[in-house]
Symmetry: C2
Subunit: 236 residues, 2 copies
DNA sequence: ACCGAAAAATATGTATAATATAAGAAAATA
DNA sequence: TATTTTCTTATATTATACATATTTTTCGGT
């Protein structure tokens, strides 16, 4: 079978959105594909093929891959190519260790620096999450993300915010899993409530330890889920 | 004066070192230039000019700049170009806040996971630092870096290591300043010794709080130095 | 049938060329 | 003289071409 080889197009052609550089659009598209599992761990990423699938040239694809490498979504082997990064249980544990410390730091700082207005926003996010009775999983994940983002923001530490957001993305693939566990949503809301109370009273130590405990809880549940369905080595 | 414009070459032509990709060599060269002040904060980075100065094409320069952006050494304005990132006092404070939490985490984990062999290596680094009587500043900085790197490594958390190394580089420009303060070197050695003792006894909490305190001390000294010579806004 | 080496194919790394956009200067108008 | 508009120029962005390294395939020998 020679001549034209037809590659299955799994990445949509990019839509020129505003004035974001192409590499940025390509980057987001590829990250999305990796997180959603369209591009599977270990899979080789060939510049030409990806460029064709998305209807752009190799240059923006290359730059997107470089950025994905920096954010640990792909691994590059010099002169060989780029591969979608696999995530081992060890990786997940490592990320949780760091997140625990940094979410604690963020909450502690937020307790010192948060405004009434921001507290109000947090209340609203929590209220939305309980009011609607049965939210679907996607909405729960979003509301959870929103809450944490508000804590990060109140820490007033830009670099901390970007590190935490990156860590969150690293384990994005597992968040839906753990939040789907029966009773987890309710417990998470309760933990969030307690954190808000600590923030409201500007109790830094309390906020810190609550936030750390919250992440440890999430870690335990995540590992319970994962060890049930996966071999101990590679998660996916 | 038309025709050829002569640009002052401040970046050495790259030497093809083994099989590292060109973009990697260019990246390191530019980072070095930024940290050493050859490329000054706020300065515009023009691809063509940089490529000519280093004797390579624009492609590796572009990729190096992207990477520098990800590591916060340059800021990019879309369709305008790249500029050397300035570091404000707020930035330095932010980095120290994170470092304090993460150095504490690393030391705490190291206390649980360190081996006799690694403890021995730490002893050697400390011994070297005191034995030679009068080390020059560069050697002191290196020995300090080595010690911290050993703690990071003993944490057995790869991602934590890379985050901490990046944070260290962010404030690299100020480390020499603070270590040059009379008495600082001696005090730092003493603090390191206490950390080693905590690690040896696998006392996680003690190691954590000592490491955090160590960073807070460094932060205070750094700010004392900086606020003496600089206006409160931009450090450089 | 099973290695092993050479050659072809393929992909990455690097360079160069083409295109689009933004900033600045000059000119025209009020 | 001030202000707006147009044109030029410089530069980022994207595309393509070329060189080099790696992988695969094929063919010959054992």
């Amino acid at each position: 079978m020679k001549g034209e080889t037809f590659v299955e197009k799994r990445l949509l052609p990019v839509i020129l959105d505003g004035y974001k550089p192409l590499r940025e659009i390509v980057f987001e598209s590829m990250r999305e594909a990796i997180l959603s599992g369209v591009l599977k761990p270990g899979e080789r990423l060939m510049e030409i093929q990806l460029a064709e699938e998305m209807g752009v040239s190799r240059t923006p694809v290359r730059e997107a891959i470089r950025k994905l490498e920096l954010e640990n979504f792909v691994v590059m082997i010099p002169r060989k190519g780029a591969y979608v990064a696999g995530v081992s249980l060890k990786d997940v544990a490592d990320v949780f260790e760091i997140r625990s410390a940094l979410e604690g730091l963020a909450a502690g700082l937020a307790a010192e620096r948060i405004t009434e207005d921001e507290l109000e926003q947090m209340e609203q996010v929590l209220f939305y999450r309980v009011s609607e009775g049965a939210l679907d999983l996607e909405q729960i994940v979003k509301s959870d993300t929103d809450f944490h983002a508000l804590v990060y923001k109140a820490s007033r530490n830009e670099r901390l915010i970007s590190i935490l957001e990156n860590l969150r993305e690293q384990i994005q693939r597992f968040r839906a899993t753990s939040l789907a566990v029966p009773g987890r949503n309710k417990l998470a809301i309760e933990e969030h409530r307690m954190i808000v109370e600590a923030l409201r009273h500007h109790n830094s130590e309390e906020a810190q330890s609550l936030a750390m405990a919250h992440i440890v809880t999430a870690e335990n549940i995540t590992f319970d889920c994962l060890s049930l369905k996966n071999d101990p080595d590679k998660v996916d």
